[in-house]
Symmetry: C2
Subunit: 333 residues, 2 copies
DNA sequence: CTGAAAGCGCTTACAG
DNA sequence: CTGAAAGCGCTTACAG
């Protein structure tokens, strides 16, 4: 036998399909016993409503989309997990769509996507969330969306982010509390907004303790392992070196750690190293890396929430808490 | 103005909607100039067909699903990338669905999923691809599916895998060619089929060179970093130690490397280490890890291919090539 | 609190 | 090579 439809359920419960529809959508104005009869029929027939029929007839598709163009599978993977879990809880489904934001007509691609799929909302991950053309297309189409950790137009539309500056401030404070007064800093990719925020947190923490900022201890990185190696070589070149280095992300911190090892420095005895991200690798290296855990899955879960609850249309913003993971790579000065 | 429909296109091209439908689906029997007129109307109106309407009226939904229940975000992320790219090329969309295969009614969950979504096919990743209940549900529903790297029922349904045994054979051969005659081996999780295949490859390579298998050089691991550390401690306890260790995956190889470092052994001078997987970490540690690159994205792309082309229904199987990544962690005995 | 009718935008099966 | 009609399984707007 083929799938049961709303007609079958209506017949089994001796009501009209409209009443079944009411129960399906949790609408009021259905007598309790009628509702019970319909629920029983649904269970007996193993009925599951057709998404495409609901989508075509109504205003909702129960589909959310996640747009991304990101080289880091771990980051994107984490975002997907958080979003898809929340979707499942709410009876929604998640469609993932990689994009190439360098493509000239990426805006049209997104427009077509929204048009064929009729998604109820879109989660935009960095750097897609900062693409003016895509945002314009969605605004025009009236498709709700939530931006995750956007760099530009900080007040545009709904968004979810974490407190990069606060986290960097707290991590720097941890190093200061351990007695470090000469703390090197490796900046992240200059095009990435979080880079500036993290540096600001570092600078503010030093200022709060009256420790002078030394420009020769600050190196520009690009978030890559390789740029971390270069930064490490610059910072650890001579005998006059910092007692701690705070890198704007884990990949760079790992690069510094490999330079330290190569130079025969023991971490954290000779040098404390801190990172940012809490990647999977952070716990695999030895010593394990002290770092900031980003609430990646939680951010996309919150984004899905805003889309499902309707908060996205109101342009709501959420700031999620981070967590400082103190591990073996940092110690007393 | 709202979205154009097939009716608008038909009117603009002065044909019936049926003829537009023919063009949309690439059917034959449309006069070239009629086709050109319709194409022009589609472009002019910016027409994109509605997926839900097509799905409801016809046999195809243009939706593929990826089912997983895997702790490794990198592995799942790689699979998603490969599948979604292929979907995009073919005008399909990918829905991702995490599952908990420990849940007693996971079969019903999958049945409901297939029922609401009407996906054209499902990609089953390990360990979902080995769940008898889920396979039974899909067989009964008649939903095409492709299993990725299945452990059990090796001949059931369409599947895509890589040659684990061949890769382990070749990696062991590489170590032998470098002069190693005392090669330790760390087995993977005993519940994972690939574990056995990789061990078989190792054993076969030794046998081919007339090198005896030493049971005291073989340690049972569980694919985790921690189990690698334990294996390393067992294998490197005394002065009588192997000159090379081949671990069944990178995480364990990394655990061994950290033990070697802690014991003051220099890799690869004192000990060669090889892994399996080519995780992101493999290139971040120092020295970089010699390992086997699994064609993860390629496997799921092939799976999507089989689903889209119809090969899945024929139960086709594909074996994809691996790649040996020779890096710094291995060297002459 | 409940229902009859129309319609969402396509494809199917059939006719010509 | 092309088209008129029915129907997919729901929700909407309305009536009672």
């Amino acid at each position: 036998m083929s799938r049961a439809t709303i007609i079958d359920v209506a017949a089994a419960a001796s009501v009209s399909i409209k009443t079944v529809s009411r129960v399906l959508n949790g609408e009021p104005n259905v007598r309790p016993d009628t509702r019970a009869r319909i629920d029983a029929a649904i269970a007996a027939l193993n009925y599951v409503p057709s998404l495409s029929a609901r989508s075509m007839a109504g205003a909702r598709s129960f589909l959310l989309g996640l747009l991304f163009d990101n080289p880091s599978p771990a980051y994107v993977g984490g975002l997907q997990m958080g979003a898809v879990r929340r979707c499942q809880q709410a009876g929604y489904h998640l469609i993932i769509e990689p994009l190439d934001i360098e493509t000239p007509n990426v805006g049209q691609t997104v427009a077509d996507l929204v048009s064929t799929l009729r998604v109820d909302g879109l989660i935009l991950t960095p750097p897609v969330c900062d693409h003016a053309g895509i945002l314009a297309v969605l605004d025009q189409a009236g498709t709700p969306y939530v931006r995750i950790a956007p760099d530009r137009d900080p007040d545009r539309a709904a968004q979810v982010r974490m407190d990069d500056k606060g986290a960097a401030y707290e991590m720097t404070g941890l190093l200061l509390a351990q007695g470090h007064r000469d703390i090197g800093f490796v900046k992240g990719h200059p095009e990435h907004g979080a880079s500036h925020l993290r540096f600001e947190g570092y600078a503010a923490a030093l200022a709060a303790q009256g420790v002078a900022l030394r420009s020769d201890r600050i190196v520009q990185g690009r978030f890559s392992f390789r740029s971390g190696v270069e930064a490490g070589e610059a910072l650890l070149a001579g005998p006059d070196r910092p007692t701690a280095i705070f890198a704007s992300n884990d990949d760079m911190a790992l690069g510094i750690m490999s330079v330290a090892n190569a130079k025969g420095l023991t971490v954290p005895r000779d040098l404390s190293i801190a990172g940012f991200d809490d990647t999977a690798t952070a716990q695999v290296v030895w010593p394990q890396l002290t770092t900031v855990r980003q609430p990646i899955a939680e951010m996309s879960a919150a984004a899905a929430d805003l889309l499902i609850s309707g908060g996205a249309r109101q342009g709501e913003a959420r700031l999620l808490p981070y967590e400082i993971m103190v591990r073996g790579s940092t110690g007393p000065a």
